[in-house]
Symmetry: C2
Subunit: 410 residues, 2 copies
């Protein structure tokens, strides 16, 4: 008999307990062991729930029970999650977390602690909710030299953009609807400004390239400024605006992680990911490309990922070597955003194609001009400085740039 | 230092050796061990290749080397692959195979042998080529009670159908093109008749539901009879005809595996899987649904999956309990195809909607009628007997059924 414990009985934590109890017989058969959900740590009481008698208030109850092999951390935030998780690992208990803030901020430390105590720090649930991505990346694809990862990693912003695209809602109305449906928090900053997606691309970048990438190193731009007009016009040109979290490895060996709204061509599967769904596209030299798709959040989808980690742990004996990265105390391996280069969608005041071509060279055939505005896609990739120069050159011709989005290549 | 060996130096086998040598440093870092590709078993010699000196002709060289921990089986077919793999497992050497015929026919025996000798029989590469699906299914999603799996599991037929849809090629022309490009064998039977997809859905069904499903138990229909006309008309109604390998769990607890051309609604991501790509949609009570997408075949994509298994094995100590199924010496758990029920696409000779409604009840709004033919989607699901009865009832009204496809629900 091996015991599980859960820290935090909120949405995800209660999901872990309930999904485990529902499928207990199946889970025990699959991993060949008897299992017990022994403790739930929470400051609140849950007398009306079937697992109410398992609630404890003191982490030491869990730390001191030698039969607890795996602990799920579903508290969120850094305090006291970090201290609790570290204590569990130091006690030789493996931890499975859904807390992306914790992994993005402290993953290197916790992975090191786990290794020192011959246990594991798991975080499948921290990226993409139900989507298996962490284990596929470091196990199934372990023979690949990765070149890029691009994903829709935040369901709230994808829901909002989707409503703008499909139902012509403006940003504020779509955000209010997301809040009404419980997809967005009252304070939607972490989602809308891209911080949540940023934490997730930090985790994927760290795992794929082996060095801890902190959120501060990532150029992050959210969707608050996305105008309905650009969503519609971009669509007319055959592109969909999505909040894309991405990392690419450059020819100089450095990596460039970014989070920003990008225009995704309609024959790219990422453009077809609707509603609160998430998806991650991975490029490597063996696989060419692979994509993973599923529910990016929610009680049972996230619980499924946490339990998947817990179930693996009870089948294991030691730390998994491939699921790790190191803190190199440097950001030298991360390229500056200024070199980021891509073809671009532009919306300008009404302009002659000839005047635009003088600035940008050839344009793609996809160009729409009305009396008031012109939208087009450049044929050449432009970096940040080149965009700035183009804006100035256009201004001299009396043409103002009203919006600009990079085109995703993935 | 742990040693790898490869059985068979064809397309996949040579890919395993070449991808390993290319990314050796990265792979060793990830799994924390020194590794050597020590032997390649083949009847041929490869004097011009850099690994020519590793070729051996006798399986005993590999069996008798105690440092060989993992063997890749990339020979294909059952003879001598089955005997060789079984001998390796009996010698305590784990095996990673890309051979779906072997897994579908002998998986139960080989998994049992592996367990008896405390090693592993891996087969990530046997389904979906590069796509991580086996490990996600039994590890990441181990907390889920599965209800259905549906996939595009054969790249050749997907390429052919895609050419029919996108370029109005008829079946024969598209097949000839697939052969020219090397996607289809000279004898394309296994692909075109659905046998290859059948083996793969057997493997996924066995793993998801725990009991060995043999190919003989699966209703299998290929794409040879798919007419260009139906591909086009179906598309007009908002559906794409795909060869779908599927298993569903019914309310009576039995499972129903099928391989057949089905009409897939255009907002289902499976309808967007083009060319030689594969994809698998999984439904479970925790995740709701998740999809996995990537290259279904090819030298390096398949090699990536084989190596992923080999790299996991050198990090492991024992047999993985969750990656298995049993032979129950029965097919009682498999439902008869006659109960399979779905909404249907029909193409008939020209018909009044009122005459059709008398037979089918309500029809979906998606109906196209010309002077010669009528195509429509039924609102109600029909099983095989109900389809037969409907065909008879229509015949009495002077209406002939020219084509019929079930609609995928996934």
């Amino acid at each position: 008999m091996e015991k599980f414990a859960v820290l935090g009985c909120g949405v995800v934590g209660s999901g872990v307990v309930e999904l485990f109890e529902k499928n207990k017989a199946l889970i025990e058969k699959r991993c060949g062991k008897s299992l017990e959900m022994a403790y739930i740590l929470d400051l609140r009481d849950f007398p009306d729930r079937p697992y109410g008698n398992k609630v404890v208030k003191d982490i030491n109850v869990i730390l001191n029970d030698p039969d607890v092999k795996v602990v799920a951390e579903c508290m969120g935030g850094l305090k006291p999650a970090f201290t609790f998780v570290k204590s569990c690992l130091e006690a030789g208990k493996s931890v499975a977390t859904s807390n992306k803030e914790l992994v993005a901020a402290k993953g290197d430390i916790l992975l090191k602690t786990a290794k020192e105590h011959d246990c594991n720090f798991f975080f499948e649930a921290s990226v993409g909710g139900a989507i298996p991505i962490i284990r596929p990346l470091h196990k199934c694809l372990a023979a690949n030299d990765f070149s890029a990862i691009a994903g829709i990693l935040n369901g709230t912003t994808n829901f909002i953009l989707n409503k703008m695209i499909k139902e012509n809602m403006d940003f504020s109305t779509a955000l209010a609807l997301a809040q009404e449906k419980g997809y967005a928090e009252k304070d939607p900053t972490a989602d809308v400004e891209g911080h949540d997606a940023c934490r997730k691309i930090c985790i994927l970048s760290s795992l794929a390239f082996g060095k801890h990438v902190y959120p501060e190193s990532v150029h992050t731009k959210g969707i608050r400024e996305v105008e309905l007009k650009d969503v519609e016009l971009c669509n007319q040109l055959g592109y969909t605006i999505k909040l894309i979290a991405r990392v690419q490895r450059l020819e100089n060996g450095k990596i460039l992680p970014t989070v920003m709204p990008m225009a995704v061509e309609e024959d790219n599967l990422l453009s077809q990911v609707n509603g609160v769904y998430n998806a991650v596209m991975v490029r490597g030299d063996g696989i060419s490309k692979a994509m993973f798709y599923g529910r990016g959040a929610g009680k049972f989808p996230t619980a499924s990922a946490v339990l998947g980690d817990m179930i693996e742990e009870v089948q294991l004996e030691h730390t998994i070597p491939s699921q790790t990265w190191e803190n190199v105390n440097s950001t030298d391996f991360i390229e500056d955003f200024s070199v980021f280069s891509a073809k671009r969608y532009f919306r300008t005041t009404s302009a002659d194609i000839s005047a635009l071509s003088e600035v940008f060279g050839e344009l793609q055939e996809r160009t729409v001009s009305t009396e008031e505005e012109t939208v087009f896609i450049t044929e050449n990739a432009l970096n940040f400085t080149e965009v700035e120069n183009a804006v100035k050159a256009l201004a001299k011709k009396g043409i103002n740039v009203l919006a600009e989005y990079p085109i995703l290549v993935s």
